[in-house]
C-alpha cells in the first residue's frame, strides 16, 4: 500500500492527517511507516542512531508504533540565515545550499527514492506526506516532495484543503488544474479540513468539484481544537505540546481525531482502496 497526502497550502493539515492514517492502519494490524521526501523546517528530531529528521515524521512513526529512522525523511532543509539553507541528507549534514552553491536535484532525488524503496520493501504500507503546495509555478522544477514523488514512484494522491480561511474549492480545483496532465490521473480524491458547523451546506460545491476534476471527496474533517506538533516553518498555528508526556498526549489526540473524523464521514475504506492500487 502507498499513498501521498498533498496540501493545497502550508498548514493545510497534511502532517496530522498522515499521522491519523498511519495510526489507523497500525490499529488495523498493518505494518505501516510514514515518509516525507523533503521537509523545510528548523524543528527536527534526532533518531536513536543519531540521525536528524523532521519532527512530523517522528510523531508519525510513533503513531505507527515504530522508531523513527532517517529513511522516513531523507531530505531536511534547515534555513540557516544569510540566504543559505543547510541540507541534511539521510540524517547527516551534507552541504549549505545557496545561490552560488545549488542543490544537485538529480543526485538528491536518487537518495530519496532509495529511502522510499527501502521502506516499501520493509513495510506493508508507506504513508507519504507532500510539502507546501505542489503547484508553486515559480518553484515547481525544484520541488522534491510532491510532483517528483508522483512522477518517480506513481503514488496515488489525496489533496487536503483547509477551509478555515475560505476559498477551499478554489484551492482544490486550482491545485488540480495546475498539476501537469501526465500526473493528474494520480489525484484520486480530496479532503476538506477544519470545517465548523453543518457540512451539508458544502454539498453542492463538493459535487461540482467532483464533476470538474473526477476526484472523489473523501471527507470533511471537523475543526477540532487539538494540539499537534507543527513541523512546518510557515505555520502560524504553533504546536503547544510540552513536557514528558508529549507522545502519549499526541496518541490520545490522534485516537480522538480518528473517531471524530469517521463520525463526520471520513471515508477511510475508500482511502484504503486508493492506497492498495
Amino acid at each position: 500500500m502507498k499513498i501521498i497526502f498533498i496540501g493545497t497550502s502550508s498548514g493545510a493539515g497534511k502532517t496530522t492527517i498522515s499521522a491519523l492514517y498511519c495510526r489507523y492502519l497500525y490499529r488495523k494490524g498493518i505494518k505501516v511507516t510514514p515518509f516525507k521526501a523533503s521537509n523545510l523546517s528548523l524543528n527536527s528530531y534526532v533518531t536513536k542512531n543519531g540521525k536528524e529528521i523532521g519532527m512530523g515524521q517522528a510523531f508519525q512513526a510513533w503513531a505507527s508504533n515504530i522508531e523513527p529512522t532517517e529513511d522516513m525523511n531523507p531530505v531536511l532543509l534547515k534555513p540557516s540565515g544569510n540566504n543559505t539553507i543547510q541540507l541534511i541528507l539521510r540524517g547527516e549534514p551534507f552541504m549549505d545550499i545557496s545561490e552560488q552553491n545549488p542543490i544537485d536535484t538529480k543526485m538528491v532525488m536518487e537518495k530519496v527514492c532509495e529511502s522510499f524503496d527501502r521502506l516499501s520493501k520493509e513495510y506493508d504500507a508507506v504513508v507519504c506526506e507532500g510539502s507546501g503546495s505542489p503547484v508553486e509555478l515559480n518553484l515547481m522544477d525544484r520541488d522534491l516532495a510532491n510532483l517528483r514523488m508522483l512522477r518517480e514512484r506513481s503514488i496515488p494522491a489525496i489533496l487536503i484543503g483547509d477551509i478555515e480561511r475560505g476559498g477551499v474549492f478554489a484551492a482544490i480545483y486550482g491545485t488540480w488544474r495546475l498539476i501537469p496532465d501526465k500526473q493528474k490521473h494520480l489525484l484520486k480524491g480530496f479532503i476538506i479540513n477544519r470545517f465548523r458547523g453543518d457540512s451539508s451546506i458544502l454539498k453542492s460545491g463538493i459535487e461540482k468539484i467532483e464533476k470538474l476534476t473526477g476526484m472523489k471527496c473523501l471527507g470533511v474533517m471537523p475543526y477540532l481544537n487539538l494540539k499537534f506538533p507543527e513541523e512546518d516553518s510557515m505555520s502560524d498555528i504553533g504546536g503547544e505540546l510540552k513536557g514528558s508526556d508529549v507522545r502519549s498526549a499526541f496518541m490520545n489526540n490522534l485516537d480522538c481525531l480518528i473517531e471524530a473524523a469517521t463520525e463526520n464521514g471520513l471515508d477511510l475504506d475508500h482511502i484504503n482502496m486508493i492506497a492498495k492500487n
Binding site: N138, A170, G174, G197
Partner: protein, 605 residues
C-alpha cells in the same frame, strides 16, 4: 434659513479662499476640501443626488446636506465663485444662482465608478489593499470612499450619526482622507453571537438575529440585495471612486448565488475587480487559478487584475511564476507586494484566533479573553507603550500581571458566569487594590454591585446577579435597546481631551467618582468610575486609550517589579494610524501599477 443667506453673503464678500486651515473644524469633510462655501449658496437645492429631506428633531421636514461633498470639491467652488463674480451676484437669493447651480452640476457632477477588491481567502489582505488604494487615489486628488456590503466582525465603531459600522471601514475611510465615515460604507454588519447565529445590523441599526441558513435563504434574497444597491448607488453619486471590499472568497460555489458580498455586489455596482492573493501560506497560484476559473464566465470578465500580496523575501523570485500565471488565466498580475510591517488593527476575529500575546514591553497587561469578547481593538493603542498584552482565559495565567483589563463582550451575564465558574472572578478579586484593574463596557458592567435582567434580555432567563462588587453601580436591562453614541469630552482629573464611543445593551446607575465629562447635545454628562485607593477603573468608552490622556493617567498607577513605570509623552493613536497608512500606501506604490488601477476603475486619469 435667513441665517444661511447671511452667511453666504459674507462668503461671497470674502471671495475664493480654498482650504481654510485657520478654521478649528478644518477639515470637516475630507483632507483637501475647499472651504470657500462653508454654507452652501444653493441651499436648499432639493436635488436628491446631493441631499435629502429628513425629519428634524423638532419633527419638521428639513433639507439635509450631511453627506453632500459637492460644494467642497475645489474645482466646483472655484467655478461657482468665478461665476458669482462674473455676474456681480451678492446674495444667494439672486435668481441667477439657479442657473449657476444647473451649469455647475452639468459640468462637474458625475456618477462615480466602483472598483472591487476580492480576496482568494479571508486574511488575503483585502482590507489593507482597499486602504492602500484609497490612500493612493486620495493622494492623486480623487474623492474616494471605501465600501463593504457585508462585514462579519466583532470590532465595530460608531459614526457621528450614532450608527454602528465595522472598525475596518472607519480605518479605510481615514485612508481615503474622509473625516466622517458613515453607515453607507458598511450597510450590513454581522456580529457573531455563537458558531451559527449572528446579529444582523443594517445601515448601522440592529435588524435581527439570523442563523446561517436563514441569512442566506431569507435575508439575502429579500432585503439584502436592495440594501446593497441603495447604498452603493448613494456612494457613487457622491464620490469619484468607491473602493469595494469583498468578503472571504468569491468562489464559494456552494453559496455562489446567495453571496452578496462579492460578485453580486460587483454586478450591482457595475464594478471591475482585482483579486488579491496572500502568498504567505503557499499555494497562491492554485488559489488564483481556482478562484478565477470557478467564477462563472459572465462574472469572471470583471476580474481585470491580480495582486500577489505579502511576499516574504525577494519579490523578484516570484516574477517568473507571475508571468506563467498570466498566460494560464489571461489576467495580468498588476501588483507584487512585499510584506509590509504595520501597526494597524487587524480585520476581524479571524486574525484573533491563535493570538495569545502581542508586543514585548515591560508592563504585563492581562486581558481577559471572554468567550464572547468584543471590540478588542480597544487595546491596540497600548502597544504604543512599553507593554506586553496577554489574552488569558484561566486564573493560572494571571500570574505576573501588572494590569488586568476586562474588555467588552457580546454578553455580559454569560461571560461573568463564565469567569465565576472557572475561578477567574475570585482570582481577580484577590488582586483588587494590588494592581490596577480596568473594565471597558461589558467588563465595566461586571465590576458593579448588581446586574438586573428582569426580562431575560441579556441572559435569556430573568435574573438578578451579584456583580464583582468593585463598584456600587447597578446595571439593568429593562428593554431590548442598544445605546450607540460617539463621545467627546475631557478627562476630569486633567482637563485633557478624550474621545470614544459607546455600544451597549443595558444602562447603569453610576454612584462612583467619575472619570470623564462628556459633551452632549445641550449639556454635559459624567462617565466612568474610579476608586483610586482600590486601583479600580471602569468606563463605557470604547477607544478610551486612543487619546494620550487616559492612557497616560491609567498607566501612571502601574507598577512593574515594585516600581512605578514611566510613560513619556504618549502619542495620539490617530497619528500612529495616519503614519502607518502612509507606510502602507508607500509600500503598495512600489509594487503596484496605480495608473493601471485607475484605468481598471474606469475613471479619468
Amino acid at each position: 434659513m435667513d441665517n444661511i443667506t447671511k452667511k453666504v453673503e459674507e462668503e461671497i464678500k470674502k471671495g475664493y479662499i480654498g482650504s481654510n486651515h485657520e478654521c478649528p473644524y478644518h477639515p470637516s469633510h475630507f483632507t483637501g476640501q475647499d472651504c470657500t462655501f462653508c454654507y452652501c449658496p444653493f441651499y436648499p437645492c432639493n436635488d436628491n443626488q446631493l441631499g435629502q429631506m429628513i425629519i428634524s428633531r423638532r419633527e419638521k421636514e428639513i433639507w439635509a446636506c450631511t453627506y453632500c461633498l459637492f460644494i467642497h470639491r475645489p474645482e466646483v467652488a472655484k467655478f461657482i465663485m468665478s461665476e458669482i463674480n462674473r455676474l456681480g451676484i451678492t446674495t444667494s437669493k439672486d435668481p441667477r444662482m439657479q442657473d449657476i447651480f444647473l451649469e455647475t452640476k452639468k459640468r462637474f457632477f458625475h456618477i462615480g465608478k466602483a472598483l472591487m477588491i476580492l480576496g482568494a481567502t479571508s486574511d488575503a489582505g483585502k482590507s489593507i489593499t482597499v486602504a492602500a488604494i484609497c490612500r493612493l487615489l486620495h493622494r492623486r486628488g480623487y474623492l474616494v470612499s471605501p465600501f463593504k456590503s457585508q462585514n462579519m466582525s466583532l470590532n465595530s465603531k460608531v459614526t457621528a450619526k450614532g450608527s454602528e459600522i465595522a472598525m475596518i471601514q472607519v480605518l479605510q475611510s481615514k485612508a481615503a482622507g474622509l473625516k466622517n465615515p458613515d453607515h453607507h460604507m458598511n450597510p450590513i454588519l454581522l456580529k457573531p453571537k455563537g458558531d451559527t447565529v449572528s446579529q444582523v445590523m443594517v445601515e448601522g441599526e440592529p435588524f435581527g438575529d439570523y442563523n446561517v441558513e436563514d441569512y442566506y435563504n431569507k435575508f439575502v434574497p429579500g432585503p439584502g440585495k436592495e440594501i446593497v444597491r441603495k447604498n452603493i448607488d448613494f456612494l457613487k453619486e457622491r464620490y469619484d471612486v468607491v473602493v469595494m471590499e469583498g468578503a472571504g472568497s468569491p468562489a464559494e460555489i456552494n453559496i455562489y448565488d446567495q453571496d452578496i458580498a462579492n460578485m453580486r455586489a460587483a454586478e450591482i455596482a457595475d464594478a471591475n475587480c482585482i483579486l488579491v492573493v496572500n502568498t504567505e501560506w503557499g499555494g497562491s497560484f492554485a488559489y488564483a487559478v481556482g478562484t478565477v476559473e470557478l467564477i462563472p464566465e459572465i462574472d469572471r470578465k470583471r476580474i481585470k487584475g491580480i495582486i500577489l500580496n505579502n511576499i516574504r523575501g525577494d519579490p523578484k523570485k516570484i516574477e517568473d511564476g507571475a508571468r506563467l500565471l498570466e498566460s494560464i488565466i489571461g489576467i495580468p498580475v498588476i501588483g507584487i507586494i512585499p510584506h509590509i510591517k504595520l501597526d494597524l488593527p487587524s480585520e476581524d476575529s479571524e486574525a484573533f484566533r491563535g493570538m495569545h500575546t502581542k508586543g514585548n514591553g515591560k508592563i504585563i497587561v492581562s486581558v481577559i479573553k471572554f468567550p464572547r469578547i468584543a471590540n478588542f481593538t480597544d487595546l491596540d493603542p497600548l502597544f504604543m507603550e512599553d507593554t506586553t498584552v496577554k489574552f488569558i482565559s484561566n486564573p493560572e495565567e494571571l500570574k505576573g500581571s501588572d494590569v488586568i483589563i476586562l474588555p467588552g463582550t457580546k454578553n455580559t451575564i454569560d461571560d461573568l458566569l463564565w469567569m465565576r465558574a472557572n475561578g477567574l472572578e475570585t482570582a481577580i478579586s484577590e488582586l483588587k487594590g494590588k494592581i490596577p484593574i480596568l473594565g471597558i463596557c461589558g467588563g465595566y458592567q461586571m465590576m458593579g454591585k448588581y446586574l438586573k435582567d428582569p426580562a431575560g434580555i441579556e441572559g435569556k432567563v430573568p435574573q438578578t446577579l451579584e456583580g464583582m462588587g468593585f463598584f456600587d453601580n447597578i446595571t439593568e436591562w429593562n428593554e431590548y435597546k442598544k445605546k450607540v453614541i460617539q463621545d467627546n469630552g475631557i478627562m476630569i482629573e486633567t482637563g485633557e481631551p478624550i474621545t470614544g464611543y459607546e455600544i451597549h445593551m443595558g444602562l447603569s446607575t453610576i454612584v462612583e467618582k467619575p472619570l470623564f465629562e462628556i459633551d452632549r447635545y445641550s449639556s454635559k454628562e459624567n462617565e466612568g468610575s474610579v476608586r483610586e485607593k482600590d486601583l479600580t477603573f471602569g468606563t463605557y468608552l470604547h477607544g478610551v486609550f486612543d487619546k494620550p490622556a487616559f492612557r497616560k493617567y491609567f498607566l501612571s498607577f502601574v507598577k512593574h517589579d515594585g516600581k512605578y513605570v514611566e510613560i513619556k509623552n504618549p502619542r495620539d493613536y490617530d497619528e500612529l494610524l495616519e503614519d502607518n497608512i502612509n507606510i502602507l500606501a508607500d509600500g503598495f506604490e512600489k509594487g503596484l501599477n496605480i495608473e493601471k488601477i485607475i484605468d481598471i476603475a474606469g475613471v479619468k486619469r
